[in-house]
């Protein structure tokens, strides 16, 4: 790839990866629980995919295997934590940081990664469309009902535990897609998922807006711009964290709420 296009390619890579992790976090948040460690599933998928790629397994097979491992881990985590209260669920999700700290994988230069960002961007857009369709489906309404009022949902025969397990598994699957595809990113480094991956994913959701599945993608675009912009590149982790903090306190509806307010006027 010509050197002039390298920052653009990096922007697309980061947009796709953060967008997928953010969409996964959004699915769980819609169910009334905050997932503070969704990037751990991306790290698990990357740790499963990278050695397979290094051994010469076809890229598609290696990536699918990584996604599958992440989804299974998500389902196990969902089974363990789905009955917990909101505070206890957040506590459990923090334990995933230990996974982020302990997983190891060869880096992009070691793997001679030379993938195109088109796949990860396409995956993020497809995932957003899928999440939008899911939100409009019966299962999506069940998840929203559980998130809004669990007791009312139970009263009409909805099983909140099953809804949460589904949301956590789908969230882990999307993070797994991000993790598996990130192995083909030339600058791939599994340590980038340590806490910063979680903050980037949450920042994408909160900055973009939790109201729709397009919110995490809009937020991911902002996070990706901060990561490649020459003004903020050096301190991207701090910029994401401060952006997340400011949005949580001042603009909990994200940038989507600004547009919806303007449309109402």
């Amino acid at each position: 790839m010509p050197h002039a296009f390298a920052p653009l390619a990096e922007l697309f890579w980061r947009f796709g990866i953060v967008g997928l992790i953010g969409l996964g976090t959004w699915l769980v948040l819609r169910c009334g629980r905050v997932m503070l460690g969704n990037a751990a599933f991306a790290a698990i998928a990357a740790a499963a995919t990278a050695p397979l790629v290094a051994r010469g397994t076809p890229d598609a097979v290696a990536a699918l295997a990584g996604v599958l491992v992440a989804a299974i881990c998500g389902a196990v985590f969902g089974l363990a934590a789905a009955r917990a209260t909101s505070a206890a669920f957040a506590l459990a999700s923090l334990s995933l940081w230990a996974v982020e700290l302990s997983v190891r994988a060869p880096s992009g230069p070691e793997l001679r990664s030379h993938g195109s960002p088109a796949f990860v961007v396409a995956a993020a857009i497809l995932a957003a469309i899928g999440a939008w369709r899911y939100a409009l489906s019966r299962h999506g309404h069940i998840a929203a009902a559980v998130g809004q009022d669990e007791r009312a949902a139970q009263a009409v025969g909805i099983d909140p535990v099953r809804a949460r397990i589904t949301a956590v598994t789908l969230g882990a699957l999307l993070a797994g897609v991000a993790g598996s595809l990130s192995v083909f990113y030339p600058g791939f480094d599994i340590t980038a998922y340590r806490l910063h991956g979680d903050i980037a994913g949450l920042a994408a959701v909160v900055l973009g807006g939790v109201g729709s599945s397009l919110g995490p993608l809009a937020g991911a675009a902002l996070v990706a711009i901060a990561a490649v912009s020459p003004f903020t590149k050096e301190h991207a982790a701090a910029v994401n964290a401060i952006g997340l903090l400011a949005a949580t306190i001042v603009l909990p509806g994200g940038i989507a709420s600004i547009f919806s307010r303007a449309a109402r006027r």
């Binding site: 363990a80 009955r83 209260t85 909101s86 206890a88 700290l101 701090a238 994200g254």
Partner: protein
């Protein structure tokens, strides 16, 4: 031969006991910070490690300026306590008071995590002036324990007793328990909720800071460790095991975590033990070993 084996077993037992006492008291002191803030506010204070980071930075700064260890320790605790109150006022209070909205009750949780990440990204890693941390060795059953570790453990145990007494036998403790049991009734009875939050943040952060100072000044503790992540993780595992809203339960949980960790060979594996205990306790003991049913029932959903 038999005598030698007996002495080796005695040595290992003493070492294990010292490890459990040291780590358990640290973890307990850090964990009760989570339990105190949860009792007062009903949300998990994810930003609690900021007080530990501020305390470690202050100790490092003071020791580098040749201050005696007790002044450095005191300065660290004060810096951690102030940092905790600042985080409560600048980050958690606005997030708490503007409850509801699209993020709902998750707002203080996300704000706390963002504050922790921002502090971690902006604050420089404190250097351990190891030359200032060698203050003699105590011999316990043939096992040499650094004097600072013993003094730190005693300070932590005394602080634990003080906090338990403060919550059980003072007007502040009564107010805190009333707030944890029924916030609306506590408000109606004239308990100032925000002053209570400030006092609780001060106490919880001072506890976290003392634990961090003790860990930071333990001479050999950081050897072979990739990251000092164990204090927050073990603290979280302790409150998950014991029960979020009970201080004695968090203390018991902390000693359970410390005991479980002596069976693993490396420092990084002890993080995995804490993480596993955290997830297992939430899966199989969702209300902890000692559930306090009347406290924070509002969070049941």
């Amino acid at each position: 031969m038999h005598r030698r084996l007996e002495r080796a077993q005695e040595f290992t037992l003493t070492q294990s006991f010292v490890d459990i006492a040291f780590k358990g008291s640290l973890y307990a002191l850090f964990a009760i910070g989570y339990a105190l803030t949860y009792s007062a506010g009903g949300t998990l204070n994810v930003a609690h490690p900021i007080s530990a980071m501020a305390a470690a930075a202050a100790v490092s700064w003071l020791l580098a300026r040749d201050q005696p260890i007790w002044i450095a320790g005191g300065g660290g605790v004060a810096a951690g306590a102030i940092a905790g109150v600042l985080v409560d006022r600048i980050v958690l209070w606005p997030a708490r008071s503007r409850g509801g909205g699209p993020l709902g009750p998750a707002r203080p949780l996300i704000a706390g995590l963002a504050a922790l990440a921002a502090f971690g990204a902006l604050a420089p890693e404190p250097e351990r002036p190891t030359h200032a941390l060698h203050a003699g060795i105590f011999r316990i059953g043939g096992f040499g324990v650094p004097k600072l570790m013993v003094e730190g453990t005693i300070a932590c145990i005394l602080a634990l007793v003080a906090v338990v007494l403060l919550v059980r036998a003072t007007r502040y403790g009564l107010g805190l328990r009333a707030l944890a049991s029924n916030a609306a009734a506590a408000r109606a009875a004239g308990i100032g909720v925000e002053p209570m939050h400030i006092r609780t943040a001060l106490l919880a952060s001072a506890c976290g800071a003392l634990a961090a100072v003790t860990l930071f000044t333990a001479p050999y503790y950081f050897a072979g460790r990739s990251t000092p992540f164990d204090l927050p993780l073990a603290g979280l595992a302790a409150v998950a095991l014991g029960g979020l809203a009970s201080i004695p339960a968090a203390i018991v949980g902390a000693f359970v975590v410390a005991t479980a960790q002596i069976f693993v060979p490396t420092a990084d594996a002890s993080d995995a033990v804490a993480a596993a205990l955290l997830v297992l306790s939430i899966a199989f003991l969702p209300r902890g070993m000692f559930p306090v049913t009347r406290l924070r029932e509002t969070d049941r959903a």
